[in-house]
Structures are given as structure tokens and as C-alpha cells.
């Protein structure tokens, strides 16, 4: 019986020294210190590659924002103004399908339209005209009916606004303005 060296490696079954062992033994060591050991070279490699991934990500974001601009909006007729009573609303999809918007007639001369997706987690907001707000039931967020600005709850950004035009008694959607504050 001999006193054991605490740093001693597990002896492979054939008893030969570590240098003569197959490569996989060094890659998959049985001892915890060797299994958890991170060499300086490995650590630097990790740092460099991670930084490189961050740089690539930043470039990708930049390229996406420069190149990936959405094409100019085309106008779409939404509703006839005389079909929309004061205090009523209508849902429509603009600029494409799957992008729900809400058209609200606030008064005789005032019609607004906003994105229906809450700026918090994209739950659909519901207009509550009598209370003058859009209500999001998911986390009790609310937005101002006239401006789309957040009033309460988790949302911090206003609802994207749809630019409207009135042409011969028909309300046309002609663009979407995203706002950050």
C-alpha cells in the first residue's frame, strides 16, 4: 500500500503512461480535475471566437437595417367614411395579411388607425372607445385611443400609427409610422 498522490491520474487498465495512451483518453479523462481543466489556449480561443461572433452579429444587424428596408407602402382603401359611425372601429390588415390594424372614428372629423399588436408582447389590443383607450388583456396594458401612446401597464413604446388619407369619402391607409417614444 502506498500513499496516493492527490493529483495522480487514474491509471489506465494497461498501466502505460499518459503520453502513450490513445488521444481519446486525454479528451475524455476520468478524473474530475482533468475533465474540468481549461487550458489558456482553449480559454483564449473561446474569448476570440465569442468576440468574433459578437462582431458578426453587430455587422448583421447593421446590414439588415441598411439593406432590409421594407418597400414603400402602397395605398389601400380601408373603409367608406360614411359607413363608420362615430365611436365605432374596424379591423383591417395592412400593409399585408397577418398585420392587423385598427381603424377608429373618434369624432366627426377625426379618424385614427393603429397597429393592433401590443408593443409589449404582441397580444391584440382591444379598443375601449368610451374609456378612450386601447386595452391589452394580457398584462393589463393600455394605450391612448387618440395618440397610441402607452398609458399604463408594461408597454413602453406607442402603437405604430397608420397614416391615413381621405379620398372621395374613402379612408385609405398609405403608410405605417413606427415610433419609439
Amino acid at each position: 500500500m502506498s500513499a496516493r498522490d492527490p493529483d495522480e491520474l487514474t491509471i489506465p487498465p494497461d498501466g502505460r503512461p499518459t503520453a502513450q495512451q490513445p488521444r481519446w483518453r486525454r479528451d475524455f479523462p476520468i478524473d474530475v480535475p482533468q475533465d474540468q481543466y481549461v487550458a489558456r489556449r482553449e480559454f483564449s480561443k473561446f474569448l476570440v471566437l465569442t468576440s468574433f461572433a459578437f462582431v458578426v452579429g453587430q455587422i448583421w444587424i447593421l446590414a439588415k437595417s441598411l439593406l432590409g428596408r421594407r418597400p414603400a407602402f402602397t395605398g389601400t382603401p380601408v373603409a367608406r367614411i360614411d359607413e363608420l359611425a362615430v365611436g365605432s372601429f374596424r379591423q383591417f390588415e395592412y400593409p399585408g395579411p397577418g398585420e392587423p390594424k385598427l381603424l377608429v372614428r373618434l369624432s366627426e372629423h377625426e379618424v385614427v388607425a393603429f397597429d393592433q399588436r401590443c408593443t409589449h408582447l404582441s397580444c391584440p389590443v382591444h379598443p375601449q372607445v368610451e374609456r378612450g383607450l386601447f386595452h391589452c388583456p394580457c398584462h393589463k396594458g393600455s394605450f391612448d385611443l387618440a395618440t397610441g401612446r402607452p398609458l399604463s401597464g408594461p408597454p413602453r413604446r406607442p402603437l405604430p400609427r397608420v397614416d391615413l388619407e381621405l379620398r372621395d369619402g374613402v379612408v385609405w391607409a398609405v403608410g405605417v409610422t413606427e415610433r419609439t417614444s
Binding site: 500500500m1 496516493r4 492527490p6 493529483d7 487514474t10 475524455f28 476520468i30 478524473d31
Partner: protein
């Protein structure tokens, strides 16, 4: 904190009285509540009441880790072979089949091999393993070499075992009588003798006849 290098687990199998206290104590451990990592085996129930507590021997060349295809069984720097890494174990049973001492057990509900880790949560803080702290006959003993020399002057500790062609050295030590002169304990020797010689045991004789027929 590692298990102190001068503290060893000593098995004195002849002192085991089969009381199952170690099994019960192991079951009560918080790290594997309700599951015992120690088992009590009968040597030859038809002839003797002798029982043997089976704990992990913590081999220097752990066969369980050697055969693990998922790199899940690791040995800490203090020589303790740990339970399979939960995230790595694929429940393939290789270790269960390969261990010469029959220690690892597969827990199918958790799909995890769990084995005795010498109560790592206790021994790494200077406490005795659960089983060694309750054993009334001290068949399971955890302490220093000096302590065991004083307590068992007629015994000596052995940490080399032979299973056929495989020789295993272990961290856990087994006490054998001082009159036993062999440097290592050949566990498989009786089986080898029985296979080569005419079996004296009538049960074994029947077995061989069946095989021949």
C-alpha cells in the same frame, strides 16, 4: 473540500451481522432520499448466515468509468468515484454490467446510474459516511490507518483484488486476517477452482451435470 487523504473506508466483512442498519441509514440520506446505495448480500445462504455489505470500492482504474460511453462517471481528485453525471448518463447499463464488485445500480425512473459515493457530502466535510456511522459491529469503518491498526491488531488492510485477469486497486480497503499472506485478494479464485476441479458442492455438481447433458 476533498475527502482527507489519510481517511479510508475499511470493510471488515467477517464482522457483518446482517442487521441492515447501513442500508437503512443510506436510504435516509438527503442526497438520494429513499434509495439505498449500499446493499447487503448473502454469501451462501444455504450454508451460512454470513452477510456482506457492498459499498463502492472506489477503484483507481474505475471499470465503470472505463466502459461509460457517455463520459458520465468521474473520479474526484480524492479518489472517490462519483455517481453518474445526471446530464450525461444515458442509462445504457454498461457500468452495471462491467463493475466487478457489482456496485452501480440503474434507476430506471430517473434513467440514471446511481452508486455509492462514499457519502461525498459528508466525508468531504470531515464526517463519516452514513453507513460507517451506524454500523454496530464496525464492519464498516471510516478512519485513519493508525486507528484501524489499534482497533484490529489481528487484521491487515488489503486494497488489491483480482477478478480473473483483471487486477483492481481500490481506495476502499478490506480487512483480512494477518495470517493471510497473499498480496492481493483473488475474488474469482473459488470460481476458477470450482470450474477446474471436481465440484464438491452437490448443487454445483448438479449444475455441471446439466451442462454436460
Amino acid at each position: 473540500m476533498p475527502v482527507p487523504a489519510d481517511h479510508h473506508f475499511y470493510l471488515d466483512l467477517a464482522r457483518c451481522i446482517g442487521c441492515n442498519a447501513c442500508v437503512q441509514a443510506c436510504t435516509e440520506c438527503d442526497t438520494h432520499k429513499g434509495v439505498s446505495m449500499i446493499q447487503l448480500d448473502f454469501v451462501d445462504r444455504s450454508r451460512s448466515t454470513q452477510t456482506v455489505p457492498v459499498v463502492c470500492m472506489h477503484c483507481d482504474q474505475p471499470t465503470c468509468a472505463e466502459v461509460c460511453p457517455a463520459d458520465a462517471i468521474k473520479r474526484t481528485e480524492d479518489g472517490v468515484v462519483q455517481t453518474a453525471h445526471k446530464a450525461r448518463c444515458i442509462a445504457c447499463n454498461n457500468c452495471v454490467l462491467a463493475c466487478p464488485f457489482g456496485v452501480p445500480k440503474m434507476h430506471d425512473t430517473a434513467s440514471l446510474m446511481m452508486k455509492c459515493d462514499m457519502c461525498y457530502d459528508r466525508t468531504s466535510r470531515g464526517l463519516k459516511p452514513m453507513c460507517a456511522s451506524v454500523c454496530p459491529s464496525q464492519a464498516l469503518f471510516f478512519g485513519t490507518h493508525e486507528e484501524i491498526e489499534t482497533l484490529r491488531p489481528a487484521s491487515r488492510a488489503i486494497d488489491n483484488f483480482r477478478f480473473g485477469a483483471q487486477v483492481v486497486s481500490t481506495r476502499v480497503r478490506m480487512l483480512v486476517p494477518r495470517t493471510f499472506a497473499e498480496p492481493l485478494l483473488a475474488i474469482s479464485a473459488p470460481l476458477e477452482r470450482a470450474a477446474s476441479a471436481e465440484p464438491a458442492d452437490p448443487l454445483l455438481a448438479n449444475l455441471y451435470q446439466e451442462n454436460d447433458a
